[in-house]
């Protein structure tokens, strides 16, 4: 009888074929043109039915060689490029780079300028979170949320426009402070925004926080274990949603964050819903920080370090004094040369720890500029979270990581 079995070729063939699993699994190519991959992310999903068994993010569709560009531009020329990494929170990117270079040069901006930097940074965080909330909710199917969020973001962009003339890619920060005066109506606009926003935020939460469908779509989905979060070096809300207390503003305070009274929200379960709660709470804390800045800020005082060789001279004196004109000429034509050395400056970006590693060889052009963008690192957690999730969860997961492809691909 054993002989007959060995003759039964059809059985053996089909058994061999079963091993390949070829037909049970379906490969779905999600992106790079997909409405909910937040740009040109491409995710190759292997699915059994609607369940994800394999998830493979493919990056680089928006790669522009930003780091290489940093090695070929003068220090101050690189600032606009940082705008274009995470374009929904451009001022924060500027800030991180400027702080790094300032540390390299050993200078520090005047107090008033520092406060304004903080205000702009927090406003950028708010703008970024609003974009995240709108698109995240949209991915999960709440259509109206994005429109409401963009309505409030418009107010922030108006403030940016009033401050520097640009709305999206602001190129706002400068070495040693701000070379232009602060418009008179700006503090009032910021105050108005701080008064309006909390009410609006209550509105968002009334639409989402207790909505059963929202809860069922976010709770228990995309759980990141704390140890996994650390081992994947996640930062920002992805890390704090898993309950780990790490916030650059608290851990290694920069600017005047050590003067501020604010709290860092931590999640308890590490799922999508926790990260949602954490970000919503962060927005409240940001408003509080902005208000504290406005209260503590000196009403008068210098905005820029006029005397430093690393700082562009103020417009007035360039027009009036020959030294300043020469300095201006050299600053613009040749740039400034920080002392030899290297520096790593991290700030708490809206998406996590944004780090700039700048190496100077004493020439006006950096030897190396390295960007540690938070969403690039955070994106590592997508395959981890997508294992066993449903297809519909993937868009929620991409949303909860809060990626901007400009920043991921650089």
């Amino acid at each position: 009888m054993s002989l007959e079995i060995s003759q039964g070729t059809p059985v053996e063939i089909s058994e061999e074929r079963a091993l390949t699993d070829s037909r049970r699994q379906m490969v779905l190519n999600m992106g790079p043109q997909h409405p909910s991959t937040h740009g040109v992310l491409r995710v190759i999903l292997t699915m059994e039915g609607e369940t994800i068994v394999g998830c493979d993010p493919v990056l680089g569709y928006l790669h522009r060689g930003v780091e290489k560009l940093g090695e070929t531009h003068r220090y101050s020329q690189f600032v606009p490029w940082t705008d274009r990494t995470d374009y929904v929170a451009a001022p924060s990117n500027n800030l991180g780079y400027i702080l790094a270079v300032e540390r390299l040069c050993g200078i520090e901006a005047p107090e008033r300028a520092t406060y304004w930097r903080m205000i702009m940074g927090e406003l950028a965080r708010l703008a970024s979170h609003l974009v995240w909330l709108g698109t995240h909710a949209l991915d999960i199917g709440a259509l109206s949320m994005s429109l409401y969020c963009f309505r409030e973001r418009e107010l922030i962009l108006d403030i940016f426009e009033t401050f520097c003339g640009a709305r999206l890619t602001t190129n706002m920060m400068e070495m040693g402070g701000f070379s232009r005066p602060i418009p008179d109506n700006l503090p009032g606009m910021v105050r108005d925004f701080c008064n309006i926003f909390p009410e609006k935020q209550v509105e968002y939460e009334s639409l989402l926080s207790a909505n059963p469908i929202w809860l069922s779509r976010t709770r228990g989905v995309g759980v990141i274990e704390p140890d996994a979060a650390i081992s994947m070096s996640l930062t920002g809300a992805c890390l704090r949603g898993s309950g780990i207390n790490y916030d650059v503003r608290k851990a290694t305070p920069y600017l005047y964050y050590d003067r501020m009274d604010f709290e860092v929200p931590l999640g308890t379960r590490g799922d999508v819903y926790d990260r949602y709660l954490v970000r919503m709470e962060e927005m409240r804390q940001s408003i509080s920080i902005i208000e504290q800045c406005l209260d503590q800020m000196p009403t008068d005082g210098p905005l820029s370090l006029t005397e430093s060789p690393y700082v562009i001279p103020p417009h007035d004196s360039v027009m009036k004094t020959a030294e300043d004109m020469q300095r201006h000429f050299i600053w613009v034509i040749k740039g400034f040369s920080p002392p030899k050395g290297e520096v790593y400056q991290a700030i708490e970006h809206s998406k996590g720890e944004l780090g700039y590693y700048v190496v100077s060889d004493g020439t006006p052009i950096p030897y190396r500029v390295r960007l540690r963008t938070p969403d690039f690192v955070n994106l590592q957690s997508l395959p981890y979270m997508a294992q066993g999730a449903a297809l519909a969860d993937v868009v929620a997961l991409i949303g909860t990581i809060d990626i901007v492809l400009g920043s991921v691909d650089r």
Binding site: I140, G141, L143, I213, A392, D393
Partner: protein
């Protein structure tokens, strides 16, 4: 060919055309309402307050290039939108739009057909409507479309059951499957002590009504049950590969289904043409509009379900509820007839 049949044919043509016109402005209404809910203006450039927008859309869709993907199953790809589009208005044939009226000396019934299995006929046509979606999804030779088709098949079968069972309570109470008969029963007045209520089945079957409402949303693939076409997941699902007027067929079919199922719900639960003063088709229109408003409202407000949650809702929540409802209704009916 007798005059009765002829008047039926004429009325059918009228209903069909009215439905198509309504459907066009249904899209306008939806866009305007959504805009209002979302702090926007909505269409406002084409014609006064954008009133010509649907026509402009229609023209645009008709003149767009008709693309058939290279690997598509051509015949089915062409057949699927037609199937959807043809079946959607057919269900309206059994909706009674009122009693008969006299036109040019002929008595014309304000319904195309009064068959004694009208409600089941409606369900049957509804269950056929899913073919357009499944076949469209299959024929596109696109993974997203295939997934959309699969989702649609499972979803429609599940919610078809819920939809049908939610009506059983009404059938038990009315003792008939004919919509004309059901409307006639609802036009009686119910005396509850000093109160005089219309005998609408929403009052005697509130649970069934709620379940019907949910199942109807799912049956027409509308938010939050729009999984077969979820644009953020499946990029339109079954109609990803469709463009031009083939897409518009799917589009039309969806809106016509919405209108028809609204009319059906209004007929079954809200008394149809029965109203507090001067019964007539306007009451039916008003009630259907309430349904449609609810559809749009839902779409702007709630997020989308996940696939497994959707099926779980159908089988674990709605099915037991609707079975309990049938059981209770049956007992109450027997008790009312004095058989218990």
């Amino acid at each position: 060919m007798d005059a009765n049949l002829l008047s039926s044919y004429i009325f059918a043509v009228v209903v069909l055309n009215v439905l198509l016109g309504l459907m066009a402005y249904m899209t306008y209404l939806e866009r305007k309402l959504m805009a209002a809910m979302q702090d926007r203006v909505g269409p406002n450039r084409t014609g006064p307050v954008g009133l010509l927008q649907p026509i402009a859309d229609g023209i645009k869709l008709l003149v767009k290039e008709d693309i058939i993907p290279k690997h598509a199953d051509r015949r089915i790809f062409l057949l699927a939108p037609l199937l959807s589009f043809v079946l959607a208005p057919v269900a309206a044939a059994v909706i009674p739009f009122g009693d008969s009226i006299t036109v040019f000396g002929h008595e014309v019934n304000l319904y195309v057909a009064d068959i004694n299995v009208a409600a089941l006929y409606f369900l049957a046509i509804g269950s056929m409507g899913v073919y357009g979606i499944i076949l469209g999804g299959y024929a596109s030779a696109n993974r997203y479309s295939l997934l959309g088709g699969l989702r649609s098949a499972a979803q429609v079968i599940s919610y078809e059951i819920i939809l049908g069972l939610s009506l059983v309570g009404v059938f038990i109470l009315s003792g008939s499957l004919s919509l004309v008969e059901i409307v006639n029963q609802q036009s009686e007045t119910l005396h509850l002590g000093p109160l005089q209520l219309p005998n609408w089945f929403i009052l005697s079957q509130p649970l069934a009504f709620v379940i019907f409402l949910i199942a109807a949303v799912a049956e027409t693939n509308r938010a939050p049950f729009d999984l077969p076409e979820a644009e953020t997941e499946l990029i339109g699902g079954f109609h990803t590969e469709y463009s031009g007027f083939r897409f518009s067929f799917f589009f039309l079919a969806e809106y016509i289904s919405m209108i028809v199922i609204s009319l059906f719900g209004a007929t079954i639960f809200l008394g149809g043409t029965d109203g507090p003063i001067r019964d007539g088709v306007w009451w039916l229109a008003l009630k259907a509009f309430i349904f449609l408003f609810f559809y749009i409202w839902l779409r702007t407000t709630v997020p989308r379900f996940r696939y497994d949650q959707l099926m779980g809702l159908a089988w674990k929540v709605l099915l037991p509820l609707v079975l309990i409802n049938i059981l209770l209704t049956g007992f109450i009916r027997l008790w009312g007839l004095g058989m218990l």
